[in-house]
C-alpha cells in the first residue's frame, strides 16, 4: 500500500472512529469524509459519488452487478474467476478470446441473444495484460439496445466492465468507455484490500444482496468502511495523477526486460496482445521448463513473479486463461507472469533481468543434462 494512502486512512481507525450514521457532531464529520471520498472516487471515473456502491472488493462488485441484472449474460473465457463463477449462476455464453487473449467486438456481437441482459468484459486481462476493445464492445451493446427499442422490445442490455486491472494505467472514464456498470478494486492501485466499488449509471437498477440498515442507498447495508473508502479515494487520486507518466515509464522498463529475456532465450513465447497490452505486464513462457522452480529460485533472490500453473506435477491447476488461448501444456507450465509497478526502476529491473536469465538458464541446463 502507498504510504500516502495509509496516512490518509489512519485517522479513521482511531480519532475519527465514529459511525457515520450516528447523529452527533463528530460523527457528521466522519460522514462528510466518507461522502467526500465517494465523490472523489466518482470524479476519478467521471461520475457522481452517489452513483457508486462501496463493496468489499471487485469480486463482490461483480457479483452485485450480475445478481442485479441476471441472464442471459455474455462474457469471455479469459475473464477473472469472479466473473466466470458469477456467470455460472445464470444462463450465459462464453466468447472465446483469440490466442492473444483479445476478445473482439464481432465475437461479442455474435454471442448476443434476444434475451441477453448483460455483457461483461474486463478492461484488461489480469494474466496477460491484454487490453480489451471496450469502446467497440460498448458500441455493439448500444446498437443492440437501439435495435431492440426500435422494434418495441424493452429487454434491457447493459455493459459491465471490471476495470480493476487497468485502472492504474488506462483511462477509466465511464462515459468514454461507454459502460453502464464499472467495477474497481482498491488494492490494484496500492489501496487497501477488501475495498472496491461498483458504479452504475442512473438507468441501471441494482438489487440489494445484503439487507439491513439501508446504507449505500439500500443496495449494500452495513456500517460504512470509512477508512477503506478514504484510502481507496486517495489511492485512485494518486493513480490518476501519475497515470500517463507511470504508464510510459513502466512500458519502457517492461520492453527493456522483455527484449533482454527474448535475446537470451529465443525459444521464449510471449503471450498477450503485442500492441494492446498493459504497460506493466509481461507474460513469457519458457517451453519445457517447470516455471515454479524458477519462481522459487527467483523469490530467494528478491524477484517475485507468478506462474501460469501452480505445482506443475499436480493436475488441474493450469491457468484457465492459458488454456483458453490455446497455449500448449509444455509452454503453459513454463510460464512466468511479471508485473511491474511503483517500486520498479531501471536499477532493479536490470538486476531482475540478470537473475531471471541466470535462473532460467540454470533450469534449462538441469533439464537438458
Amino acid at each position: 500500500m502507498d504510504p500516502k494512502v495509509l496516512a490518509a486512512m489512519q485517522p479513521y481507525f482511531s480519532d475519527d472512529f465514529y459511525n457515520p450514521s450516528a447523529p452527533y457532531a463528530p460523527a457528521i464529520v466522519v460522514r462528510r469524509a466518507y461522502e467526500a471520498a465517494k465523490d472523489s472516487l466518482g470524479h476519478a471515473i467521471g461520475a457522481k459519488g452517489d452513483e457508486i456502491v462501496m463493496t468489499a472488493g471487485a469480486t463482490e462488485s461483480v457479483n452485485l452487478a450480475f445478481y442485479s441484472i441476471g441472464g442471459h449474460i455474455v462474457t469471455a473465457n479469459v475473464e477473472h474467476h469472479a466473473v466466470l463463477e458469477a456467470a455460472k449462476q445464470f444462463e450465459h455464453t462464453l466468447v472465446a478470446a483469440d490466442e492473444r487473449g483479445f476478445v473482439s467486438s464481432a465475437a461479442i456481437k455474435a454471442a448476443i441473444q434476444a434475451d441477453t441482459r448483460l455483457v461483461s468484459i474486463a478492461l484488461a486481462n489480469n494474466e496477460l495484460g491484454t487490453i480489451q476493445p471496450l469502446r467497440d464492445i460498448a458500441e455493439v451493446v448500444r446498437t443492440e439496445r437501439e435495435a431492440r427499442l426500435s422494434r418495441g422490445d424493452h429487454t434491457p442490455i447493459y455493459l459491465h466492465s471490471d476495470a480493476s486491472q487497468g485502472v492504474g494505467q488506462l483511462d477509466v472514464n465511464v462515459a468514454r468507455l461507454g459502460v453502464d456498470l464499472l467495477t474497481l478494486n482498491a488494492a490494484k492501485v496500492y489501496g487497501p484490500k477488501q475495498v472496491g466499488l461498483l458504479w452504475s449509471a442512473s438507468h441501471v437498477a441494482l438489487k440489494p444482496q445484503v439487507r439491513g440498515g439501508g446504507q449505500e442507498r439500500g443496495i449494500r447495508s452495513g456500517t460504512e468502511n470509512v477508512a477503506g473508502a478514504v484510502g481507496f479515494a486517495k489511492a485512485l487520486e494518486l493513480a490518476s495523477e501519475h497515470r500517463k507518466y507511470e504508464s510510459d515509464r513502466l512500458g519502457t522498463l517492461r520492453d527493456g526486460l522483455e527484449s533482454k529475456l527474448v535475446a537470451a532465450f529465443p525459444q521464449a513465447v510471449l503471450s498477450g496482445h503485442r500492441k494492446h497490452r498493459l504497460a506493466g505486464h509481461l507474460h513469457i513462457s519458457f517451453p519445457n521448463l517447470d516455471a515454479e522452480r524458477v519462481l522459487f529460485a527467483l523469490e530467494s533472490r528478491g524477484v517475485l513473479v507468478a506462474t501460469g500453473s501452480a505445482c506443475a506435477a499436480n493436475k488441474g491447476t493450469r491457468s484457465h486463461v492459458l488454456t483458453a488461448i490455446g497455449l500448449a501444456a509444455e509452454v503453459a507450465d513454463g510460464s512466468l507472469r511479471m508485473t511491474l509497478g511503483h517500486l520498479s526502476n531501471e536499477e532493479n529491473m536490470a538486476k531482475a533481468a540478470e537473475y531471471i536469465i541466470e535462473e532460467v538458464g540454470r533450469e534449462y541446463t538441469r533439464v537438458q543434462s
Binding site: 522452480r293 522459487f296 530467494s300 505445482c311 506435477a313 499436480n314 538441469r366
Partner: protein
Amino acid sequence: MTKVYVGMSGGVDSSLTAALLKEQGYDVTGVYMKNWTKDLPGMKCPWADDLADAKRVAVQLGIDFKVFDFENEYKHKVVDYMIEEYKLGRTPNPDIMCNQEVKFKLFLETALEDGADMIATGHYARVEDGVLKQAVDVNKDQTYFLYRVTEKALQKTLFPLGEFTKPAVREMAKERGLYTAAKKDSQGICFVGQIGIREFLSQYVEQVAGPIIDKKSGKVLGQHDGAIFYTIGQRHGLDLGGGLPYYVVGKDMDKNEVYVTTDLNDETLWKPELTLSSVHWINAAPTEGTFKVRIRHRAPLASATLAFEGDDVKLVLHDAERAAAAGQSVVIYDGDVCIGGGIIA
C-alpha cells in the same frame, strides 16, 4: 553415481537429509509423496504448502524434484485400516502402517522403477547392512515406527539423520540456509494433525451414545458418545465429575459399553504378560530369551522375556508396565538393534 530418491515432506528433517546426501556425492532426486490432501473441520491440510516447501528446498539444492501420488493407496492401506481397527475396539498405529505399506514399499518400488538405486528419508534411525538400529539421539529415535519394514527394503534405504540429534539437525539446516530450517515440526498423526483422533474418527463413524459402567459395581456412571473413541488405560475425557480419576479398563464394542475404574491397581492396567500377533522380524527370528521392549513411541525400554507360542510371541515383562491397548505395537530390541515386534492381540 548412486541415484537416491529422498522422500521430502517439506519439513526440516527431510530437507537436511537431501542436502547431506547431495554433499556426500549422491545423485539426489527429491520426491514429495502426496498421500493425504483432505481438510478436516478445524484443520486445513497443509499438503500444498508442504509440497511447495519441499520443492523450494529441491530448487535450493539444485536437485530434481518429483511428486508421487499415493493418495488412493494411502487411503486404502493406512486410513481405512486405522478406521477399521478402531471399529473393532482396537488402537492402531497408522504411522507404522504408513511406513510398512507406503514409504518402504510403494515409495521404494516406485522409486526403483523410476531409476533410483536407493531411497532415503528423514527418519531418526540408523541402518547397517539391512539391520535397523536406534538413532544416536535416543530421545528422537523413530525405530518404533519402523519395526515392520523388511530387511530387503532397509538394504535399499539410507537414514542419514540417525547419527545426529534434533538440535544438530536444526543447526545444520540453518548453516546451509535451507528454506525450512526454522519450520515447525508437524504434530501427531500426519493426516489427523492436532485436532485429535476423536474428531478425525467422528468424520467416518456415527456417534452412538452408550453407558460408562463401573467395572467393580456394575453401576452406570454416565454416558459416552461411542465406545470407539476410548482406549484402554485412558484417563481423560470421561467427564464423570469430581472425585478420583477414572481409567478405561475395558470396552464391549457390540454392546457399545465402556468399563472404568478408579482402582489404579486394576489388573487390566498392569498386565505383566503381553501376547503379540502379526509378528514381524526384520532379519532372522530371534531365539527365546530376554530382550528390551517398547510399548509406545518414546516409552523407556523395558526388560521382558520372549517366548514363542505358535506364530505369536509371548512377552513377560520384568517390571509391570502401564498397559497398552489391543492393536498397539510392541517393538523388540536386542541392544541398540531393533529386531522387530508385533501387535498386541
